[in-house]
């Protein structure tokens, strides 16, 4: 055997040395494929078996055989060994090629100066998604980062940052201890928050402004989620991204998701809204069509109240209304979808308040408010109380009495500053525009729209926009009933204010001429706003002043009640926190002790007491307190830490009061779409820089052409395959020409 190995080494030094080189400097992405190398034992076993499987004959002419043996024994043995070697090498090379070898480091031909590496690992919860291999994206990112560290040259230094809602610098000072860096990386856990490229870039720029830092090589290990990375191409982060590229020696984005696609499409629960005291609306999004549908489980506290099968034969967004059983106390709603590749966003929580009567105040002249009052009071058991007063009467009330769950402004001519101040304290405001409105009276920054002009009289059909919005979705079964198909004659053209602040807006109704909004809604935090822009013809109301065309509609009653229901929805439930939010609440009295806040996993959170003043539109409403009269947090408040995980947090006050708090994940993070191809070119262009490509040879490849190491891996694969084919050709030549015998052993 030793002789055979020497012989093999002597005849194939190049092949042996290349295999030794491969073993020493390469790692294998599919190491299990190396087991196929055991097939290399098959030719050897067959060779040995053939030597044992012989026939015995009695032969007279032995002297000729002896002569032949003396002449050819040596050459035949050599050729047989070469033949065996070619077969074994062919199998080994094929197995090595299938194992996807990746060079761990380039040959140390030149001395490389120590460099600074800034590793940025995406730890948003989308990285929890698991691929077909069963391995999560976050695990793949950690492994890629670990391989990157192992490639480091002596003297290289490392910084480590995680991308999440609040980006964290885990290694703030450049560390030369690669082993310690690897240990920190190995202990990382993915968060339950989303991530912001802007926040991350701001953090990186702040970090890089330290005078002691050289030009670093920045490597992002991420899943290239569209929500996170698209801003680098066509959004708010483009400039910051370009500055980062200019500031750094090289910037690299390693996509760890493409190579391991999702095991299942990701379904998610987008929201739970308490649309009334008796029901909640659960909005979900399904990635693919499922013929049998998905089972949604809805729990009220610990009891399952409904398990509807949803999204049967459909995909996209689905909204399900779930009726709640009668209750007297605060309760928690938990909605759960079946597990998929990303389970975090398959569960969502909401804390609903006990049934109480909502307060609606209609401001305006009596002739203008009566229609609203009439439409809201239709029905026997409406869960709200409606009051009317003029604007002046409202402003004359003490601040403590300016309380309402919904303030309706019926054809007010303007919104003076004193009135606008009360908007900020209220959870919902509705503007019913009319002919009295003046554009200059709606210029305050707290009002989300600007009045342009009254549209010329005419017949304008109403476009319900597919009845998508909850306020008009109940009209969808009756499109020809005239509820929303009666044309209108005039309306206010409005335009949104760009400086109103962050929040979401939705369009429920619009004119089919010019696509001008007829009913637009806003939501900022827990505050909800809406405006109705339609105006009646002047002669339509006889001797009384014209007010709003809605009064002439057959849909006035249901539409106004649906509108009030939507606007008052936030009053039926406690405020919803997202993971990463700070949980705050107002103290009942000035001398009370802070409550005890316990996470879903049972951990006690640190709670501090401070004085603050926050508005519902700017921050969270208090938790665990009587919300009806505590919508404004002023004075003494308690604040727990940042919510670390989703679930129901228990707030326990020293006087025995309890209050659950719902903390959910940011549903938008569950959108696992990757960046556009056009955007990808931006990252490819970064990657293709010579500085970058010389470094990233061993980081896990994720898609052909997407990462630098894929080139070296492809080249290795091609070389190994070519070597295997060459071995097979040599084997054929030896067996057919050198030995002149038909191969019967393989």
């Amino acid at each position: 055997m030793e002789g055979n190995l020497l012989l093999i080494s002597a005849f194939c030094p190049a092949t042996i040395s290349s295999l030794v080189f491969l073993w020493g400097v390469a790692s294998f992405l599919s190491g299990s494929m190396l087991l196929w190398g055991m097939v290399a034992a098959v030719p050897i076993v067959i060779h040995l078996l053939n030597r044992r499987r012989r026939r015995t004959v009695t032969w007279p002419a032995m002297q000729f055989l002896l002569v032949a043996l003396q002449q050819r024994t040596r050459s035949v043995q050599i050729w047989q060994l070469l033949l065996l070697l070619a077969r074994v090498l062919a199998v080994l090379l094929i197995a090595a090629a299938l194992a996807h070898p990746v060079l761990q480091q380039p040959p140390p031909l030149v001395t490389v100066d120590p460099r600074l590496h800034l590793l940025v690992i995406d730890s948003s919860f989308s990285m929890r998604a698991s691929g077909a291999s069963g391995r999560s994206r976050f695990t793949a990112a950690l492994e890629a980062a670990d391989r990157y560290c192992r490639q480091a040259n002596s003297g290289d230094r490392f910084l480590l940052v995680t991308m999440q809602r609040n980006p964290q610098v885990l290694i703030e000072r450049p560390s030369i201890d690669i082993q310690a860096v690897r240990e920190v990386i190995a202990q990382l856990e993915p968060s339950y928050t989303g991530a912001s490229l802007n926040d991350t870039l701001s953090l990186l720029h702040g970090l890089l402004e330290q005078a002691t830092l050289d030009e670093p090589e920045v490597v992002f290990f991420t899943d290239m989620q569209r929500r996170l990375w698209q801003p680098a191409c066509e959004g708010t982060a483009t400039a910051a991204w370009q500055r980062l590229i200019q500031r750094c020696r090289a910037v690299q984005v390693v996509d760890v998701a493409t190579r391991d696609p999702l095991s299942q499409p990701n379904d998610r629960i987008l929201s739970i809204q308490a649309v009334s005291q008796e029901r909640v609306a659960i909005e979900m999004e399904f990635a693919t069509v499922s013929p049998e549908g998905k089972k949604l489980e809805v729990r009220l506290d610990d009891s399952v109240i409904e398990t509807p099968v949803v999204a049967r034969g459909t995909s996209g967004r689905v909204v399900v209304d779930v009726s709640l059983p009668p209750r007297r106390d605060i309760a928690t709603i938990t909605a759960t979808l079946p597990k998929d590749s990303l389970g975090v966003d398959n569960q969502r929580y909401l804390v609903v308040r006990p049934p109480i009567s909502s307060q609606i105040v209609c401001l305006g002249a009596g002739t203008n408010t009566r229609f609203v009052v009439a439409s809201l009071q239709v029905g026997a058991d409406r869960p709200w109380e409606v009051r009317t007063m003029t604007t002046q009467q409202w402003l004359n009330l003490p601040e403590q009495q300016q309380q309402a769950d919904l303030l309706v402004l019926c054809d007010v001519s303007d919104c003076p500053p004193a009135l606008v101040q009360t908007f900020a304290r209220l959870p919902a405001v509705l503007w019913w525009l009319g002919p009295a409105a003046r554009p200059t009276g709606f210029a305050d920054q707290a009002i989300p729209f600007r009045l342009e002009a009254i549209q010329d009289p005419g017949l304008y059909a109403i476009d319900p926009l597919g009845y998508q919005h909850p306020t008009v979705s109940s009209f969808q079964p009756f499109p020809e009933s005239g509820l929303l198909s009666t044309p209108i004659f005039r309306y206010w053209r409005i335009s949104p204010k760009s400086d109103w602040g962050e929040g979401t807006t939705a369009l429920a109704l619009q004119s089919d001429s010019g696509n001008h909004p007829l009913l637009r809604l806003w939501q900022r935090g827990s505050q909800r706003l809406a405006v109705v822009t339609t105006i009646p013809m002047a002669a339509a109301t006889g001797d009384e002043p014209a007010w709003n065309a809605m009064v002439a509609w057959p849909s006035l009653v249901p539409l106004s009640q649906e509108l009030a229901t939507w606007l008052l929805a936030s009053s039926h439930a406690e405020s919803e926190y997202l993971v990463g939010d700070r949980i705050v609440g107002q103290m009942k009295d000035e001398s009370g002790e802070p409550p005890e806040v316990r996470t879903p996993s049972g951990t006690l959170m640190d709670v501090t007491i401070q004085r603050n003043r926050q508005t519902p539109g700017q921050s969270q409403t208090p938790a665990g307190v009587d919300s009806a009269d505590d919508v404004t947090m002023s004075g003494r408040i308690w604040a727990a830490g940042l919510a670390p995980e989703p679930g129901i947090y228990q707030v326990q006050f020293t006087d025995g009061r309890k209050g659950p708090v719902a903390v959910n994940v940011d549903a938008s993070e569950g959108d696992l779409q990757t960046v556009d191809d056009d955007c990808l070119k931006v990252f490819n262009a970064v990657r293709d820089s010579p500085e970058a490509s010389s470094r990233f040879t061993g980081v896990e490849a994720t898609a052909p052409g997407r990462l630098p190491e894929s080139d070296s891996m492809g080249a290795l694969f091609r070389w190994l395959l070519a070597g295997a084919i060459a071995m097979l050709v040599i084997e054929s030549l030896i067996s057919r020409f050198a030995l002149r015998w038909q191969v019967a052993t393989f």
């Binding site: 499987r53 009695t58 002419a61 032995m62 043996l69 015998w741």
Partner: protein, 302 residues
């Protein structure tokens, strides 16, 4: 009819050999027995040889009285003498001659049987020409026949061949040299063997035979499978005469085997030519009568 008669005296073979016979390459003294071959002695045949002067003591019956009448001197009239040819049939009965085919169950003719047929055919035409022959087995078991002629010798030849069996380890060169002293009268030696021995040993034996005044006809008998190594795969070869076993991949050595066989045969041919002997290679299964007839016709003429 004797049991071996039909086996060894095939009428077809004998018909092919009709009219042919063994000859010496030169006139020889075959002894006092009268025969069909010229003798260096003067005898009493009808053929005139020459005249010589009379010396006292000569047989007066040989005086040529016509010359005396003309010359008045006495001359004797010499006549040629005619003698018989002795054929020594040396048949190799070593173990290697017991080979017929690799497949022992094929029922093929062994080399020894084929060699016996050839020896019997040549013995037949020798005796048929009023000459005499003997049989000597080189190795194996059986018995030899002394020199004799006539039909009884023919029957004895058939009987001796039928009772002979090949076997044992016999080197043919040494065996020939061992039997040489027993060939007391010069004659034609017919050696029928596979000649599987060292070429030098065979050369020595041939040279000694020729030096002893014998003419030599060498018939090499080989089996078809020996001439071309047609096996496949790894095979263990065990020698028929006790040679050490060899294990090899046959296909890899077939060509070298053939080359060795050709070289050996070429050596034998050159050896026989060098010593004025005749060599004929035979393969078991060939038409023996035609091959022998063609060879005898070539060597000795019609």
């Amino acid at each position: 009819m004797l049991p071996g008669w039909k086996k060894y005296f095939d009428p077809k073979i004998l018909a092919d050999l009709s009219g042919l016979g063994l000859r010496r390459s030169q006139i020889f003294d075959g002894g006092p027995l009268a025969g069909a071959h010229h003798s260096p002695r003067h005898g009493h045949s009808v053929e005139f040889a020459d005249h010589r002067p009379y010396v006292p003591g000569d047989d007066v019956r040989s005086v040529d009285w016509k010359i005396f009448a003309r010359t008045d001197r006495y001359f004797l009239r010499n006549r040629e003498d005619e003698t018989t040819l002795i054929c020594y049939l040396l048949v190799d009965a070593s173990g290697s001659m017991d080979f017929a085919a690799i497949d022992a169950a094929s029922g093929a003719t062994t080399k020894f049987d084929y060699a016996c047929q050839a020896a019997a055919a040549l013995g037949f035409i020798t005796l048929d020409n009023q000459d005499r022959c003997s049989l000597r087995l080189l190795g194996g078991t059986g018995y030899d026949l002394p020199i004799a002629g006539g039909a009884p010798q023919l029957e004895a030849l058939a009987e001796a061949l039928s009772r002979s069996r090949p076997g044992g380890d016999t080197r043919i060169g040494a065996a020939v040299r061992q039997v040489l002293p027993q060939l007391d009268r010069p004659g034609v030696v017919v050696l029928v063997s596979d000649l599987l021995d060292e070429p030098e040993s065979i050369d020595t034996a041939v040279a000694q035979l020729r030096a002893a005044g014998h003419d030599l006809l060498v018939l090499q008998v080989l089996a078809p499978e020996e001439r071309g190594l047609t096996l496949a795969g790894t095979t263990r070869f065990e020698g028929a005469e006790g040679e050490p076993a060899i294990e090899l991949q046959v296909e890899a050595f077939a060509q070298a085997y053939q080359q060795a066989l050709y070289a050996f045969t070429d050596q034998l041919v050159q050896c026989c030519q060098r010593h004025g002997s005749h060599f004929l290679g035979l393969t078991v299964g060939e038409p023996l009568g035609k091959r022998l007839a063609a060879a005898l016709h070539q060597y000795y003429g019609g």
